[in-house]
């Protein structure tokens, strides 16, 4: 008789009856989920006081229904707007948004910019697989220039977003980018984001062997992870490189880590001042 070993993080943090993962084999979402649970576990955070909010797309199913905490699985592109209400509505809650590049770089990109500008105390983990995975491999605002997808059969004529730069200039307190290969750095970054008293944004470049992998001709998840390793450039090193040298590379690291009063705290200060 074979013995079933259940991962200790699963026993501790998974919602009963939600063990079955909906993601495709080899998807990076499992790595991202594990990194988040490790970060929560290492910080010993109380899951009763955590709220996870997600939108629509593959990344939204990372916490929903898997994480055993209060969970708001919302509409396409809007998780940050919902999360803003949750955080302002009860500032004691620790709010984490899981979103994707379709969710928050396309249909909901303005909510991402505005949440960063408001500096609302929310950690946003944006899983960027650079394609629309769930709907079958259509071009995204993060798809590399020239790449063929289901809806760019002759190559992508547009250029992709640099989401970290976008969120940085919008005003976020914490900004970082990693890939699913850099899981230890990702855990440490998530811990920083979870403790940050302002808007935190972590972009995770993640492998999609089924859609993205098919279009670039690499369907083996391990090979995609090795590719991430090989094309990643630390932020410090990137500063010394030219635009041409950075072509096709992924710049990783912590880009912003600054202190500014978050919106929920600012509002609480006002309420205290207004007390009779």
């Amino acid at each position: 008789m074979s013995q079933v070993h259940i991962h200790p993080l699963l026993v501790k943090y998974a919602r009963e009856g939600a063990y079955r993962q909906p993601h495709c084999p080899g998807c990076g979402n499992g790595i991202v989920a594990q990194c988040m649970l490790r970060a929560i576990d290492e910080l010993k955070l109380n899951m009763d006081k955590m709220v996870f909010v997600s939108g629509i797309g593959c990344s939204s199913w990372i916490p929903s229904p898997f994480f055993y905490a209060d969970m708001l699985h919302t509409t396409h592109g809007r998780p940050l707007a919902f999360a803003t209400g949750v955080k302002l509505g009860n500032p004691e809650l620790r709010v984490v948004v899981f979103t994707g590049d379709g969710d928050s770089a396309a249909i909901g990109a303005n909510h991402l910019i505005q949440a960063a500008r408001k500096n609302i105390e929310i950690l946003t983990v944006l899983v960027n697989n650079r394609i629309y995975g769930m709907t079958g491999g259509q071009v995204a605002p993060t798809t590399p220039h020239g790449m063929k997808t289901k809806t760019t059969p002759y190559g992508n004529m547009e250029y992709p977003f640099d989401l970290c730069k976008l969120v940085e200039v919008a005003g976020a307190s914490y900004v970082a980018r990693w890939t699913t290969f850099h899981n230890r750095q990702l855990v440490s970054s998530m811990k920083n984001g979870l403790l940050k008293k302002g808007f935190s944004f972590i972009e995770v470049i993640s492998q999609c062997p089924v859609q993205y992998g098919t279009f670039i001709g690499i369907k083996d998840p391990a090979e995609l992870l090795r590719m991430f390793r090989d094309i990643s450039v630390p932020a410090e090193k990137a500063k010394t490189m030219s635009q041409e040298e950075l072509e096709g590379k992924i710049v990783i690291g912590e880009f912003v880590n600054r202190e500014r009063t978050g919106l929920a705290e600012a509002y609480q200060q006002l309420l205290r001042e207004m007390e009779p």
Binding site: D48, A81, G89
Partner: protein, 369 residues
């Protein structure tokens, strides 16, 4: 002003979260709330659009707040997807739509009752809605409170369908004894109650975030526990019917209709919102001239008062539906009244303006001959 009364009604109802995007003719609601809310520990936030306004309202509701947003036609259109989400996830919230002339940008400061069907059918899928139509500044106060009571009782989104006339109207209002006003608080689940937080046609208790319920809330098709099931059509059937029954089973408690002079009436004027003000005035004048005219005022637009209107139709020979549009609630009236009485439609002489009393009187004199 009607919009100011709405803001005060929200505060009395216990609303402590309000999100908004500027739009004419609803701005005064936000202006008053932004001043008053910090004094009552309420949160006012201006969001980047109406989509995020309603989204943050829903989030705040799950965080334990009574929550509201206000808008007008174009913004109401943007809110529709998330209004459907509020209904689907059984989230109490109030949406005030101060209607203006459309379609599109239309004429922002002028009134129209153009959003009657948008209120009930604006989101995709099959769902029920509650919508109330205030006719006066006083009702902007009382019906905003009632909207919250209904939203919290039935765990759903409730629309206050006002318009530019009622919203911008100035009239004297007597604020009643606040302590005597009935305020409904939401039912929270007992701990370890089996986590059945959804799809009870008698309204499941609502878990508030942060209290250890660890609820799973999704706009996808789900079961009583909130677990997503997007494979089996049996769940679609169950969700759609449970949400519908939750409202329609309790119609008698929800629907309010006001009637006047109907006992011997041969003609009934049927109106709601700002138009009901003219109808009310005209009925009195008509009575003075000996015309047997009565009044039916719909306070609740949705769910539609089918049994009440059907009953009126059995008594009178003719129902004249007055609306500031080309006939929206008219089709619902015809559906229940046409087999008992003649149903006629009377829009204002110029759409986007009030029905002038003299114009309605002329019409009545013609048909009452």
């Amino acid at each position: 002003m009607g919009n100011e009364a709405c803001a005060l009604g929200a505060i009395v109802a216990g609303c402590r979260f309000f999100a908004f995007y500027p739009i004419t003719p609803a701005n005064e609601i936000a202006e008053h709330i932004s001043i008053l809310f910090p004094k009552v520990k309420g949160i006012y936030i201006q969001m980047e659009d109406e989509i995020s306004s309603i989204a943050s309202v829903i989030g705040a509701s799950w965080a334990g707040n009574k929550a509201m947003t206000a808008t007008s036609g174009p913004g109401f259109t943007l809110m529709q997807e998330n209004i459907g989400y509020a209904v689907m996830t059984e989230t109490p919230c109030v949406v005030v739509d101060v209607q203006r002339c459309g379609p599109s940008t239309g004429t922002p400061p002028l009134p129209m009752q153009g959003d009657v069907y948008q209120a009930s059918r604006g989101s995709h899928g099959e769902y029920p809605i509650i919508a109330l139509a205030p006719s006066s500044v006083e009702e902007m106060f009382t019906l905003t409170i009632e909207a919250f009571n209904l939203a919290e009782t039935y765990r759903t989104s409730v629309v206050v369908l006002s318009d530019a006339i009622v919203g911008h109207l100035m009239e004297t209002v007597e604020i009643p004894d606040i302590s005597a006003i009935k305020i409904v608080e939401r039912k929270k689940p007992e701990k370890n109650s089996g986590a059945k937080y959804f799809l009870d046609e008698d309204v499941a208790p609502m878990p508030v975030f942060g209290l250890g319920y660890r609820a799973h809330v999704t706009g996808s098709t789900h079961d009583e526990g909130g677990f997503r099931n997007v494979e089996d059509p049996v769940y679609v059937d169950k969700v759609v019917k449970a949400l519908y029954r939750k409202i329609h089973k309790h119609k008698d408690h929800i629907v309010r209709v006001e009637t006047k002079y109907l006992d011997d009436a041969e003609v009934a004027l049927l109106a709601y919102g700002s138009v009901a003000r003219t109808a009310n005035y005209v009925v009195k004048s008509a009575r003075k001239e000996g015309m047997k005219v009565g009044l039916v005022r719909l306070v609740t637009l949705w769910p539609f008062a089918d049994s009440q209107v059907g009953e009126v139709a059995r008594k009178v020979g003719k129902i004249v539906v007055m609306e500031n549009n080309l006939g929206q609630i008219l089709s619902k009236v015809r559906e229940v009244a046409a087999k008992y009485a003649d149903v006629e439609f009377l829009p204002p002489r110029i759409i986007g303006t009030l029905h002038e009393p003299a114009y309605v009187m002329d019409y009545l004199r013609r048909i009452c001959k």
